[in-house]
Amino acid sequence: MLDQSEFAFNELRHLVTDRAIEGETMLLNMGPQHPSTHGVLRLLLELDGEVVVNCFPDIGFLHTGIEKNMEAKSYEKAAVMTDRLDYLNNLGNNLVYCMAIEKLAELDVPIRAQAIRVILTELQRIASHLVWLGTHTLDLAAISMFWYTFRERELILDINEMVSGQRMMTTYFRPGGLWRDVPVEFEDAVRDFIRIFPKRITEYEAMLNENPIFLERTKGIGVIKPEDAIHWGVTGPMLRASGVDFDLRKVDPYMGYEQYEFDVPTHTDSDTYARYLVRVEEMRQSLRIVEQALDKLPYGPVRSNNRKYVPPPRSELGTSMEAVIHHFKLWTDGFEMPEGSVYAAAESPRGVLGVYLESDGSTKPHRVHWRTPSFDNLQMLPVLAKGHLVADLVALVGTTDFVLGDIDR
């Protein structure tokens, strides 16, 4: 009988080079419990000394069955699941899912709801980049950044909590608009954030941009050529740091992004440092969008009036029989979607996040499939890792900025 290590080795034989079989190179496991794999990713490494010869990501340690589970829920209830996919971009996931439903059902979204959606998703983008910045630099031995970035992130979570009552898993966007209008304090809170945050970004840059250790560990590490990035389906800041100007908010505007003025930061160095610069600049641009959206935030309803999809307001229930009927139907059974299939996509902090919905005309989705940016970006990792040191692999994992919930779903 084979002992466990022999068994494991036999299983992996086809993956590694002959040198590993002869014992010339070493096989090493990194993860699934490893502080710098950002969750439960397992990397099998083939090492020659300290140089990575081969790297095989093993995913699935967080496979939650979200896609399958969504098929068992009515459309509105399934929205709750979407928050848990990419848990740093909860509202972004809500947004894409709602956009898909709205596209298929031809449901209108009031402009106030659209503007609030933009404000909140842009804030979420900043929050996500803050987590990335904190953990990425933490892995590169700059622990102080973590305290600073999480301090600012709390401000955004407070805004989330103010509008929805939850810090992370808000499910605030619903098909046809928002769950309810934002409270009056919302505007002040966001303005405060807009006032505070630019100074804080300058602080981060002062700490990192000329920090010799940081530069040493990021410059020239993990260069992605633009054509490679496109061939591997890489999107988001990873792609833009390779000099490709592609941002869905510009290319295929949704939620009224065409009204806002903002730049898409790109860089041509294509290395880890360039990706850092691009993401930090993106935070600034997001702030610009938030400010513009807030300045011209219109008044009006925040949810569509289409009673076939949107439950009536509470106040109508006492006076209108129809409202009671709609309310009962929508909360017991859910709404029926027209037959057909639809794909909707938006720019998440990590890249293009898309959802494909297949409807058979019932109240539950027939099939839901997510196109998640982390999954596609992770494919690049083995290519990048080859020839780098193990210590650089940590930087590469950080710069890919994946979320395991997004990969495994």
């Binding site: 419990q33 939650t64 069955g65 699941m81 973590f146 992370m168 898993m169």
Partner: protein, 160 residues
């Protein structure tokens, strides 16, 4: 020469051994540094500046099970991850405690399906459950304090 001379002007405190050890265990409880899913982000927020779990002697998160006393199961436990978790638990030296953070770890949460272990207590003993999806950092701190209370009440006979 008694203890008074050695301690100088500091004086001496007497207490029961049980109390002393439990006190020490409570305020130097090192959690293991690893996250599973969304709850891990809130756990990190708990460590960060605003909530600062180091107030309770937990500033050191160890990345290796051999040096940690407390396992915070922060997130959903999948069937693929379960054996790994059990291995990590077995590698921790006694005494050890487990906090199950969040609905998923406690009971499967909203994911009642083929992929998720319906509660981490199926694979290891749990001391404190923290409810919420995700629990606020305050809730996690409360869970930790509840665990401290439990540890303070442990009897010498049951020490591992």
């Amino acid at each position: 020469m008694g203890i008074e001379q050695k301690a100088g002007d500091l004086g001496a405190v007497t207490m029961r051994l049980e109390q002393a050890v439990n006190w020490a265990r409570t305020y130097a409880m090192w959690p293991m540094l690893f996250g599973l899913a969304c709850c891990a982000i809130e756990m990190m927020a708990g460590q960060a500046a605003k909530h600062d779990m180091s107030r309770f002697g937990m500033e050191l998160m160890r990345a290796t099970p051999r040096q940690s006393d407390l396992m915070i199961i922060s997130g959903r436990v999948t069937r693929k991850m379960a054996p790994v978790l059990r291995l990590l638990y077995d590698q921790m030296p006694d005494p050890k405690w487990v906090v199950s953070m969040g609905d998923c770890a406690s009971c499967g949460g909203i994911f009642n399906n083929y992929a998720i272990v319906q509660g981490v207590d199926e694979i290891m003993p749990v001391d404190v459950y923290v409810a919420g999806c995700p629990p606020r950092p305050e809730a996690l701190v409360h869970g930790i304090l509840t665990l401290h209370e439990k540890v303070r009440g442990e009897k010498i006979k049951t020490w591992a």
